[in-house]
């Protein structure tokens, strides 16, 4: 199982998914209309490391996080 978390202002409960890569995750999230804008402006971290492409293999126990636009300070 891969756990997917939505950080900050994204109002969505965490998911537990049987997926093996980020392409599968993208397909699942694209079906959720409320996620459309967030998918465009959010960054993705796998096990707390930001990734810059979908070319990432996921294994059991991995954690994926979506990070929407930030504004600290």
């Amino acid at each position: 199982m891969v756990r997917v978390e939505f950080l900050g202002p994204i109002q969505k409960e965490p998911l537990e998914l049987e997926i093996t890569n980020l392409n599968e995750l993208a397909k699942i999230l694209q079906e959720d209309e409320s996620m459309k804008e967030w998918l465009e402006n959010s960054a993705v971290a796998v096990n707390d490391t930001l990734v810059s492409s979908r070319d990432v293999v996921l294994k059991d126990g991995d954690r994926v996080a979506l990070l929407p636009p930030v504004c600290g300070g």
Binding site: L39, S42, V44, P68, P69, V70, G72
Partner: protein, 145 residues
């Protein structure tokens, strides 16, 4: 070092602690940047969410960059609500010479604004409203769209 606090920062106390921590380190320049909540758009204050694991690794990467130049960085940030004219953010650079500190504080604060995993909300009428229009998409955003 990175320090997170619930609510507003005690700015004089933090600036004093940091100054005293490095009093004998032989740094010639100490430049803090203090961010304070401004009154605008009728907000009552701001509120912050922080994702600590990525904030920590982002900060450690900067600390290494600073060390390579003989400098050190400290940062404090608020979690939760911070009201008007209270402060939510302090970053500081210590370095032997002034040029490194002057350049580092600028680069650090700008990258903080663009990359640190912190989300800001306006407090209006008791509600928490995500400040999307003032927020910046992290580099590499959109790969799942």
């Amino acid at each position: 070092m990175l320090y997170l606090y619930d609510g507003a920062l005690d700015v004089p106390e933090i600036l004093k602690e940091w100054y005293e921590q490095e009093a004998k380190s032989n740094y010639g320049a100490y430049i803090p940047f203090v961010g304070t909540v401004r009154s605008e758009d009728n907000i009552e204050g701001l509120s912050f969410d922080i994702y600590e694991p990525i904030l920590n690794s982002w900060f450690e990467a900067w600390q290494k960059k600073a060390e390579a130049k003989g400098a050190v960085i400290k940062m404090a940030h608020s979690r939760g609500d911070v009201m008007l004219h209270e402060s939510s953010y302090i970053a500081a650079v210590f370095s032997p010479k002034r040029r490194v500190a002057l350049e580092f504080i600028d680069e650090f604060v700008e990258d903080f604004k663009a990359s640190a995993p912190i989300w800001k909300y306006d407090l209006k009428g008791g509600k928490r409203v995500y400040a999307l229009d003032r927020s910046t998409a992290i580099k590499g955003s959109g790969i799942l769209k």
